[in-house]
């Protein structure tokens, strides 16, 4: 009886939570102007792909999609390259000042990222990297939460395994490739997913760095569409679908890894 009430409450909340997303998908298939009615229609009278066609042909959203996909993929690869090696080093390799440096990195998490943005912008500008893909990617290569995530996981790799390989004469590089990386596999997926989604959803930094609309990522392109013109809501909803649905699908597919990353960062932290 009590449990039934819980399920009904959850059902209502879930419906309210998903309603905006479902409504977005529905409106994106409506004909221009159809949603501007009172009461607002919930389903298209006649589903059409016209909005998507127009969006890809005219508004440059197809290009923005490719930009976003390319940048998010590169961001995930760079994040793996930099954060995994560092996370492993902080967990398993003993070097001078290691723990002090690690504590310093964690303490630096209180500094909002936006504080660094203006000098980074000026630096990239003098290097000629403003308005380039590199300008978007470089500042996010290494990230403290990513290093922390890998470190927390790498701590559990048994020292005896590493020592045995060292005694057998394996170099540190080979050790990392053949023993460390395979045992870190699940957390690599987590880190890659988090980095991909983080890059795909990022807004302020690409907005600052990218001036040329052919380089725009989806969020920047979508925001400029809302600010410059007043297009039909049906067209805008199709733009939102293109922006939101890929990451939602990726999350549903790799949910387990995503949630693991979310919990690792907070519960023990």
């Amino acid at each position: 009886m009590k449990r039934a009430a819980v399920h009904i409450a959850l059902g209502v909340i879930a419906l309210l939570t998903l309603a905006p997303i479902l409504w977005m998908v529905s409106v994106s298939f409506m004909s221009p102007g159809e949603a501007a009615a009172s009461p607002p229609p919930l389903l298209p009278r006649e589903a059409t792909l016209g909005n998507y066609r127009q969006l890809l042909a005219q508004a440059g959203m197809g290009r923005a999609f490719l930009n976003s996909a390319l940048l998010a993929t590169c961001a995930a690869l760079l994040s793996l390259a930099f954060n995994v090696t560092a996370g492993y080093a902080f967990a398993k390799l003993h070097f001078t000042g290691r723990d002090r440096i690690f504590r310093g990195l964690l303490a630096a998490l209180v500094i909002p990222g936006q504080v660094a943005m203006i000098p980074v912008f000026l630096m990239l500008k003098s290097a000629g990297l403003v308005n380039t893909y590199l300008g978007v990617l470089l500042p996010a290569m290494a990230q403290v939460p990513g290093i922390f995530l890998v470190r927390q996981y790498a701590v559990s790799v048994p020292d005896s395994l590493l020592e045995a390989a060292r005694i057998d004469g394996a170099g540190e590089g080979r050790l990392f490739r053949s023993i460390v990386l395979p045992s870190l596999a699940p957390i690599l997926v987590t880190l890659a997913v988090l980095s991909f989604l983080g890059s795909w959803n990022d807004f302020l930094w690409p907005l600052i760095v990218l001036a040329d609309d052919r380089l725009y990522t989806l969020p920047v392109a979508l925001a400029s569409l809302t600010r410059e013109h007043v297009p039909d809501s049906e067209l805008m909803m199709a733009g939102s679908v293109i922006t939101v649905l890929p990451v939602l699908a990726l999350f549903l597919l790799l949910q387990r890894y995503y949630i693991r990353g979310l919990l690792a960062g907070s519960v023990k932290g």
Binding site: T17, P40, V110, L122, L138, E172, A223, M237
Partner: protein, 295 residues
């Protein structure tokens, strides 16, 4: 010895990247905030002058900065309790749900978190539309009068709070649910045997055990909510009547619209100082209440 060298080899690239793209820029931002770096300085560095605390003093006399600070404070003070409260409520419901349904509901309630903020802000702009929006339609069905959500200075910020809560509550819900699930069933059994009511149980068992987590998520959420930017940028462009201009929005305009980069750096540092003070204050209050784990 070998391991030491290896340590630096493995950690070095990331530390170098963090130094170049974060730590040095943070220090540079502070120096920049003490100069009159503006559009002329972007063209030639010879036009930069050291001005001491002038940027800070001028900001403190700028009405729009105070307005932005007030708007941001409203967003934090109303939004954070609402968001964490929703997270806690839904986490409690999920904890009580049947194991088989829990996974489905958890995913459904969490999904707004992973969506692209700009994308869903666009949706909400239409949901909040005065004439054709579903939200006003819902109010009408309840017999209430429609609200000009994004066009009325009194309602624009509350509308953004509503959107932000919808977008973010799932994150803390997951963390609180994990904390709830670590509470041993025996504790509830024992308190039931002693005749505790559901309310007493919540107060004597659940709350004390999740208090450290609750404090942690409140602090993190607060720090995040102070960084309000994209919501007003997409939904209201800071208006109407600058009622949704946040501190970061102000910084963005100051820096990248007017190119007053010295002054914009000062805004960034003031925001940092405020976040630091508020989180430190919260931690101190928690220590006094013996809520945090260290005490």
């Amino acid at each position: 010895m070998r391991a030491k060298l290896a340590g630096w080899m493995f950690a070095g690239p990331a530390l170098l990247a963090l130094a170049v793209f974060f730590f040095v820029p943070v220090a540079a931002a502070f120096l920049l905030s003490l100069t009159d770096f503006d559009i002329y300085a972007v063209a030639s560095r010879e036009n930069v002058r050291f001005v001491g605390a002038e940027n800070y003093l001028r900001l403190l006399q700028t009405p729009l900065f105070w307005k932005a600070l007030g708007n941001t404070a409203f967003f934090v003070v109303i939004g954070v309790p609402l968001s964490v409260g929703t997270s806690l409520g839904t986490a409690l419901l999920l904890d009580a749900a049947h194991a088989k349904l829990q996974g489905f509901f958890r995913t459904a309630l969490f999904s707004p978190v992973v969506t692209t903020l700009v994308g869903v802000a666009v949706i909400w702009r239409y949901l909040l539309h005065t004439r054709y929006g579903l939200i006003n339609h819902g109010l009408e069905l309840l017999g209430l009068r429609p609200v000009d959500w994004l066009g009325d200075p009194r309602w624009a910020m509350p509308a953004i709070v509503l959107f932000a809560v919808w977008k973010s509550f799932g994150y803390n819900m997951i963390i609180l649910l994990a904390a709830l699930q670590t509470i041993p069933e025996e504790l509830y059994e024992a308190s039931r045997l002693e005749g505790a009511s559901a309310v007493q149980q919540a107060r004597m068992v659940t709350l004390p055990l999740i208090a450290p987590t609750l404090l942690l998520v409140s602090t993190l959420t607060m720090a995040g909510y102070f960084q309000l930017f994209a919501e007003p940028y997409v939904m209201t462009q800071g208006g109407p009547l600058q009622s949704t201009t946040s501190v970061l929005y102000f910084m963005y305009d100051e820096g990248f619209k007017w190119w007053n980069l010295g002054s914009a750096s000062a805004v960034a540092f003031l925001l940092f100082a405020i976040i630091l003070a508020v989180t430190a204050g919260q931690a101190a209050a928690a220590r006094r209440l013996r809520w945090s784990e260290e005490s």
